[in-house]
Symmetry: C2
């Protein structure tokens, strides 16, 4: 059955109404909806409206504060720690990224570690906030433990994504937004729904054996760090995921490793948590704190054009620049609409009935 | 034939004499030797004395300035661009890292991009300089193009390593030092010498086909980004290598991508280079710019102990913390000596004769 298409505006309005209903201010509801929908626009479907009911359930069990008093609890000229007061990460993260940008305006760069937050949608949204200011933006977050470090059968890390957004001149910006696992959880979910095998190096079973069964996570298995196994560099993916965890949570005083709060509201919280909520980390670097922005941008254009015009292996059209697929997806979906799986549309329908907010197929 | 062991002190003294002979000041020769030997101590044999004759050849063709006027050419409170004046990267990099540390003392963090430099040894040495100051240290560099981005048959990136060094309390520090390729070039060289096959995902041939032949690089093939191929996340390794290239060289005004000067002195320089020399990037973040160092360190100890004690897959003793293998290697080699391949020892012997500096087997 083909997926139905929904307009961006319709999904945005519905999502905004849902957040308003939870008690968010008008401004926060608008921002949270925009951040969440940026995932659907950019084709990272697992992190968009598919998660809306999950956020609502977190609010229902009192793990999301709809009216947070987000504040800076420590700072220096180039750094800050932000307490998200259990707010939606969708709102806490843009606040913290703005703090980083403001500091970069003052002293060249700004670096903000965040405690006491919740899931923040896609890292890309937040990192890209820097672009309009002629800054490089960096965003990362830890997440519920689904990933086993090299040699471990325990799940100790989240998919811990990193976004680095870099402005260019005439070319579109360079936007890398990557989970530090071989494959993002969303890709595994697609294989689960289609009952297809996963490539090697994506998952292991509960004893730590390599597996191609995309359902392993439901029976005690784990996602694998980028690289897959030791021979293919999984210790590097593990190190990258660990760095994200430490910058986001050990620096800020959030929970780290296996103590990160799970996204599903029905999963009990880990015992003896060492921190508050989940953690994020943001950075902003003003280009002209290094060299004139115009010089940098013309060199970025040259970089991008050289890579994009590289000779390709047979059967591939072009070498891509990080951010190319997501940008094309966004252009297309803004016009044509956003496809939702029937299960996701049904989930929104249930939410519509529960919260008495109309949700109509366009 | 077993490799012979050489004492750290002997190799250090010899290397120092070699750099002195090139015209380096006493202080620079001592520093360069110490940085170079840190690779041998930590088991990254491809980046240590095995490269000494390569540095000498770069000096012979006038690509290394033994008496550089290293200086800051642009700065803000938290950033700087350093011009290495074609000096040894082994000397330029510690200078630039010290600038980052000094800025972090003042405003919380320091970020330094470097142009007009040469190869800097291992990233680990420079990143670890921050540890004694209760700072997180970050070091990266671009390098001669040996790596093909996903879908490319052209070699456009170096192995572009990243080091992140994080202090702990009672536990040894967390030190990740990783090439952004599936396997470092040094590991491939080991397979070449032993005539063994490489695992899948390490290299491709000159047409971009996957290959297990470790000699492919000599016949137009390439190293592959971490992940190996698209299905296994090579676009992520490519993005990481690209970020290192841009931070190190587009931010500083060094050469990037295919224009990075080759390490072998006999390889001609690329035409129409857009910048000066090779580029590096360094960062230092003061822990107490985020939270009290004692709090951070006790949480790092907890992090490290939890990961190190994780249940392992059958046949593996322990989950490792990034930096564990290199630290153990260093402890062992400081005591037992550093093994050199016969080819490397012979190379040092030739250098000894050419420069009239005694080099005796201990």
């Amino acid at each position: 059955m083909p997926e139905k298409l929904y307009s961006y505006q319709q999904l945005l309005a519905f999502t905004q109404s849902v957040f308003r209903q939870l008690g968010c201010s008008e401004k926060d509801a608008e921002l949270a909806a925009k951040v969440l929908l940026s995932a659907d626009l950019r084709g990272i479907d697992s992190h968009g409206v598919a998660r809306l009911s999950g956020y609502v359930r977190l609010w229902e069990v009192d793990r999301v504060n709809a009216k947070p008093g987000i504040r800076i609890i420590h700072e220096t000229p180039s750094t800050a720690v932000v307490d998200g007061d259990s707010g939606l990460g969708l709102v806490v993260a843009p606040y913290a990224m703005q703090v980083a940008i403001n500091k970069a305006k003052q002293v060249g760069t700004g670096w903000v570690s965040v405690q006491n937050s919740n899931h923040f949608g896609i890292a890309g949204y937040h990192g890209m906030m820097a672009l309009d200011h002629d800054m490089i933006g960096i965003a990362m977050t830890n997440a519920s433990p689904l990933v086993s470090p090299t040699f471990s059968i325990e799940r100790l890390l989240g998919t811990n994504p990193i976004c680095v957004a870099i402005p260019a001149g005439e070319e579109p910006p360079f936007v890398a937004d990557l989970a530090t696992t071989t494959a993002a959880n969303g890709k595994l979910e697609i294989l689960q729904r289609k009952n297809l095998e996963a490539p090697s190096g994506w998952v292991q079973d509960k004893e730590g054996n390599p597996s191609v069964n995309p359902h392993e996570l439901k029976s005690g298995g784990a996602l694998l760090p980028l690289g897959g196994d030791r021979d293919h560099g999984s210790h590097k993916g593990y190190a990258l995921g660990a760095i994200v965890d430490i910058f986001s949570a050990v620096l800020s005083g959030a929970n780290y490793g296996p103590w990160v709060p799970p996204f599903p509201a029905y999963v009990p919280m880990p015992d003896e948590q060492p921190g508050k909520g989940i953690g994020h980390f943001f950075g902003a670097m003003r280009i002209d704190a290094f060299r004139p922005a115009s010089e940098f941008k013309s060199n970025m254009d040259k970089w991008i054009r050289r890579f994009r015009s590289a000779e390709t292996v047979a059967g591939e059209e072009q070498v891509l620049i990080p951010g190319d697929p997501e940008r094309e997806m966004e252009e297309n979906r803004r016009k044509a609409g956003i496809p939702l799986l029937n299960a996701v549309a049904a989930d929104l329908q249930l939410l519509s009935e529960k919260l008495k907010i109309p949700f109509h197929i366009r």
